[in-house]
Subunit: 203 residues, 2 copies
Amino acid sequence: MNKIITISREFGSGGRELGRRLSEILGIAYYDQEIITEIANRTKLAEQYVDQIVEKQPLVSFPIHIGRTLYPVPNPVLEQRQSILLQHHQIIREMAQKSDCVIVGRCADYILKDFSPFRIFVYAELESRVARCSSRCTENEKYSEKELRQKILSVDKKRAKYYNSYTGQCWGDILNYDLCVNTSQQGIKKFSCMIAGMFEQIK
Amino acid sequence: MNKIITISREFGSGGRELGRRLSEILGIAYYDQEIITEIANRTKLAEQYVDQIVEKQPLVSFPIHIGRTLYPVPNPVLEQRQSILLQHHQIIREMAQKSDCVIVGRCADYILKDFSPFRIFVYAELESRVARCSSRCTENEKYSEKELRQKILSVDKKRAKYYNSYTGQCWGDILNYDLCVNTSQQGIKKFSCMIAGMFEQIK
């Protein structure tokens, strides 16, 4: 079976960078935004729209028309959402079947449960995440520390809501991961090398 | 500065075994019960008594004798406890100064904060911990699953109480560790090799 590493991460913790570096050092595939692009290709929907759906709560309830009928009636928006979620699930499984890979986010740890992926959760102290986000802001994106803190907590809240709803598990609960990595004190570059070293042992 | 790895662990998660294996693979010192033995040697107190004190809540309050005086009066039991806690602190720092090492438990992550240790927390699902404890019971120690579960939760509670009281931090809060390792699915032998591989990268 292929070596699958899934990465869940708190916003601003550097989980995406850690995943990318890990895939480069190990010389294996890396999937992140590529998943959204592929869903958009297959469903012929705009990438931005797909991204929005995959970030939202995935639970789909059938519309009930009071006084008319209890049977579901065709609803194009609902059908689009269902199609996106179906592709999301299918594409991640296809990627895992193809070769060894690192997959960032998108509930891959849950979708690939039967592949026994190595599940990593990347986190950091809030102050460290604020500093990281601040250093990555461009000239046109000037946020105060307070605004960055709010943005970080708000993105985490959305990720948790999506993950909990999709998986029935609790986002960030350490029991859902094999390894939790705190990037507050160790640099991400150094940590990526260290974690790659773990996988070199089980080649 | 020496490479110091501290290991905190949930009861039954195999943290002690992981620490011992890690020290063997890396060829560095390992301290666990050795700390208690050394405190007992220096204080001339029984090892079992020292062990009991180091597992208890370390906060020492002065006895107040109502109606007599508010000044502390000599109290041999209190003095013994203070001496044990002082030695505990001192011995751990001496060990860290001596050479690279793995130190299991005993708030070493907190005591050695200024040594920037690499702080590992080892945990596992309760069912996996029950199975591990059960497989290690001797013929004379037959516990039911329910009893084992109670024992595990009770030991964790004591560890948390001691750690929280000694450090003012929260035992098991992932922000207090650099790496959290879930031994439920990966074997401890394999995981020890993998983690050793991390440190081989930064030699």
